[in-house]
């Protein structure tokens, strides 16, 4: 089955998914935010109810599609909407969140099967500074789920940081024996 190639950005509502996509997308991201109705509204007024969309143009060779997905368990079905042609996942963490890594724990619980299936990078965003302790806790959470992934602090507004995340995913695909057969991809 031939399909298009995609990268997915998953994370807490305030983790910076739309910002990441905007940093590398050739078009202004299309965002499907809606107002929050639970206690999340204390932290952020809106949340992604479907998916955010951006793209990287490759000229006549096509495009790489970028999708931001909500991390809440009730929206897990959205992953299946973009699964076909998915290359890898950027898992964003709001390093400034007052609730610590609770959101990451919930995301790992929700998406553990997908995170074993696709290469991913764990990216703490909005880190206040020295974050060795945070990254250690992230590593502990990954190991608790037997997940293996690089942990890279980013500023989601910086294109170079997001490019680095994409590069790591592509390296894992290329060298880790997880690249799709090129015949299975068609560039949209």
């Amino acid at each position: 089955m031939r399909t298009s190639a995609k990268l997915a950005f998953i994370g807490d509502p305030n983790a910076g998914k739309s910002t990441c996509i905007a940093a590398i997308s050739d078009i202004p991201p299309v965002v499907t935010d809606v107002g929050c109705t639970d206690d999340l509204a204390d932290v952020k007024q809106t949340t992604t109810a479907a998916l955010d969309y951006g793209e990287v143009g490759l000229g006549e060779q096509g495009r790489l599609l970028l999708y931001g997905l909500p991390c809440q368990a009730r929206f897990r079905f959205m992953f299946d909407v973009i699964r076909e042609g998915l290359l890898g996942i950027v898992l964003l963490v709001d390093a400034s969140a007052p609730h610590g890594l609770r959101g990451l724990e919930e995301t790992l619980e929700t998406y553990v099967r997908e995170l074993r299936e696709f290469p991913f990078v764990l990216a703490p965003n909005k880190s206040p500074g020295a974050d060795d302790a945070l990254k250690s806790r992230c590593l502990d959470l990954l190991r608790g789920h037997r997940l293996v992934a690089p942990i890279c602090t980013v500023d989601a507004r910086r294109k170079a940081d997001i490019v680095r995340l994409a590069e790591l995913i592509f390296l894992m695909l290329d060298l880790g024996g997880r690249a799709p057969a090129s015949g299975d991809l068609v560039w949209a």
Binding site: V30, T32, T37, L40, T47, R74, F75, F77
Partner: protein
């Protein structure tokens, strides 16, 4: 948000009345961020997933129409071989509540659209005072 059990029960009764007309597999009233508020569905329907999917479809519908400069969303229709999914927003509720109704296979679309719209208005009548009070 402040909507309390009394409103939920009244809304559930409206959904029950709608489904009781015949031709429907279930009806769900969902908060805009995908959480169930009231429902009258078959036992084999995952209400949490139904609620989340309905809110996603509305969010996508809003987005598509906005991107195409095609005005405000009226309803979303997903037409399948075994039934139709009709989703609309409860009017005058600031887009906070979404009514999603799944019909049986042989239900006439025009009839379903009219009955769903009428149900949405009744739900709005129940909730509007409470929502206005919460805002004040």
């Amino acid at each position: 948000m402040g909507l309390i059990t009394r409103e939920q029960e009244s809304c559930t009764q409206e959904l029950r009345r709608l489904v009781g007309k015949g031709g429907y597999a279930g009806a769900m009233l969902t908060l805009r961020d995908g959480r169930p508020f009231a429902q009258e569905v078959r036992r084999d329907v995952d209400s949490g997933k139904f609620a989340a999917m309905s809110s996603s479809l509305v969010a996508l519908g809003d987005t598509v129409l906005r991107e195409l400069s095609a005005g405000a969303l009226d309803h979303v229709l997903v037409d399948g071989a075994g039934g139709k999914l009709v989703i609309t927003k409860a009017p005058d509720c600031s887009g906070m509540l979404i009514l999603a109704v799944l019909t049986l296979g042989d239900m006439r679309l025009g009839l379903a659209l009219g009955q769903v719209e009428a149900c949405a208005v009744l739900i709005s009548d129940i909730l509007r005072p409470r929502l206005a009070a919460n805002r004040d």
